[in-house]
């Protein structure tokens, strides 16, 4: 009976007596508290507390701080606070088990802000897996980021002959290949032709670049001004002040229309590229969110 009593007694006090256990219990408790702050959206407290732990390198072990950095980074990711999420995720050390999800999440947050080089570097520097889903994910993400950097050679190098076993990565990779083909074969409309067409008939250059409503607006501005200028010239000749006023306005809108048509060719091309790049970015998030979050 006495032995049973001592066992029960020791078991109840074990967490307070054992140093190794204390570390584990403390870690679990601190993490639970961090999640409590997150659940209750106490963002200022969460930031303050995480910083306290992360800055205390004497009392808290590296593993402990890595866990806190990852937990805080993930919570800020959920709060859609990209800057703070990256700040914490980047503090996870290289040897931590959380380094891979932290690096991928932080990398994709950089990608969302169009910092493709930095995103590529973060994912490239993350610990490598030799096989399995993490290996497939790494190749897929690096291929997608190469595409965003318009490095088609690198994309082909990574994607050609790569057949992922994971169905999500396989599907998304197929989309990436389609986008790569689109980006490489998309034809840019000639700015010179667009400008020349607008010089012949105001607005025609905009029709050529695929902007019919803007073409109509340009036509309705320039042509009436031309007619008014002509009418004032016919009724008063060069002595008519209104001829100069409307003539200047006509010239301004006519030349503006030609210039607008020239640059709209470039803008339309860039808009199409932006749309494809947006789709690529969304696609790169899909497997990471599925695997890590």
């Amino acid at each position: 009976m006495k032995i049973r009593f001592i066992v029960v007694w020791m078991c109840s006090l074990f967490p307070y007596l054992s140093f190794a256990q204390e570390d584990t219990i403390q870690l679990r408790d601190e993490l639970n508290f961090i999640f409590h702050l997150g659940e209750n959206k106490q963002i200022d407290d969460l930031e303050f507390y995480s910083n306290q732990i992360l800055n205390d390198t004497i009392f808290y072990s590296q593993d402990f701080r890595d866990s806190v950095a990852f937990a805080s980074g993930t919570l800020f990711y959920d709060f859609k606070n990209s800057i703070k999420a990256r700040h914490y995720l980047d503090q996870v050390s290289m040897n931590s088990v959380f380094k891979i999800p932290a690096a991928y999440t932080s990398g994709l947050l950089e990608m969302d802000e169009h910092k493709y080089d930095l995103a590529y570097q973060k994912i490239y520097d993350a610990p490598e897996a030799e096989s399995g889903i993490l290996f497939e994910l790494r190749i897929f993400e690096l291929a997608g980021l190469s595409l965003l950097q318009k490095d088609y050679e690198q994309f082909d190098l990574l994607a050609t002959g790569f057949f992922p076993e994971d169905s999500t990565i396989r599907t998304e990779l197929k989309y990436l290949s389609d986008y790569s083909y689109l980006l490489q074969n998309m034809k840019k409309k000639s700015g010179f032709v667009a400008g020349a067409l607008s010089a012949i008939i105001p607005g025609l250059g905009k029709v050529y670049t695929g902007l019919p409503s803007q073409a109509l607006a340009s036509f309705l501005k320039v042509v009436p001004l031309g007619i008014i200028t002509a009418e004032n010239y016919l009724n008063g000749g060069f002595k008519n002040v209104q001829f100069y006023i409307f003539g200047s306005l006509f010239s301004l809108f006519y030349i503006g229309g030609i210039w607008g048509s020239t640059i709209s060719a470039q803008i339309i091309y860039q808009e199409k590229v932006d749309e494809i790049q947006h789709n690529i970015r969304v696609g790169l998030h899909v497997p990471v969110d599925r695997i890590f979050h």
Binding site: M1, K2, R4, F5, V8, W9, S12, L13, Y16, N32, F33, H36, L37, N40, K41, Q42, D44, D45, F48, Y49, P224, I227, I228, E231, N232, N235, G236, Q242, F246
Partner: protein
Amino acid sequence: MRYSIISGWACMFLLTVFSTKAFTQTLESANSLFAIQQFDQASLMYERAIYERPGDPLFQATTLLSKTKCLKAQQKFEQIGSLLSRIELSVLSDSLKQEIYFQKALGYYLSDNFELAEKNILPSFNLESFHTNTQLNSVLLYTLILDELGKWNQAHLVMSDYIQNNRLFTTENKLVLKQTLDSIYEPSLQPKLRSIKKAKTLSLIFPGLGQAYNEDYKKGILNLLLTGGSATFGVYNVLQANYITAATAGVYLFLYFYLGGANQSSYNVPTKNYIKKRKYNDQLKSEMIYFSSFISNIHLSNQP
């Protein structure tokens, strides 16, 4: 068997002691940190105390109210409402509910969210324990909220009712307070807020009239000159036989200034109204705070 039961109870007792000690110490520590103005750390410790004592709504409510003080000291007023919304009200006493409603409404009021402030102060008046003799702060806050919403007559009525129904005041007190309040809320002093619709209609009837109604005379004259000038331009071109110019440029310019002037007069109304309201409410706020301290003094002198 008996020993094991005893030992089990002993363990539970010790664990209870340990856990009780933990949250009590945390709360004491939070209070000490607040006293020395370490508001960030105090706020975190209050949250820690709540975390260490789950399932106790009363403790949670009182601790969150303490945390509210940290937020107020840090001027994070916009966080107070969401913080206090975590409290489970159904199990709390009326006096605590009263305090929570008041602090929530105050948080919204201080963060300029007056609609939510009104929504949160109103339930406190429906509490059974609500006594007009003691709840001056709630009544004052409600009147200040109504002032900000431009409901000055309602604010006047709320404070008048409070004075009228307060048993601690003598008839003479009530008369003096009522007269003072009437002078504060004198209708002739209230700003005359303009109507957007009326300003626009007036500008459509006669260009510049909407701006004049909004006391924006310079813009009114400018609008009248521009609209008149564009009409003259159209007529002049008809007389010069420039019919196309008159029909296109003349009509376009006239419509541009005529309709643009009407729209412009309506855009300026809210800005002008806000300036008038702000000026009046700032004056009103200081007068009402002074008035409430006057009421408090009467309360104190009349208390048995």
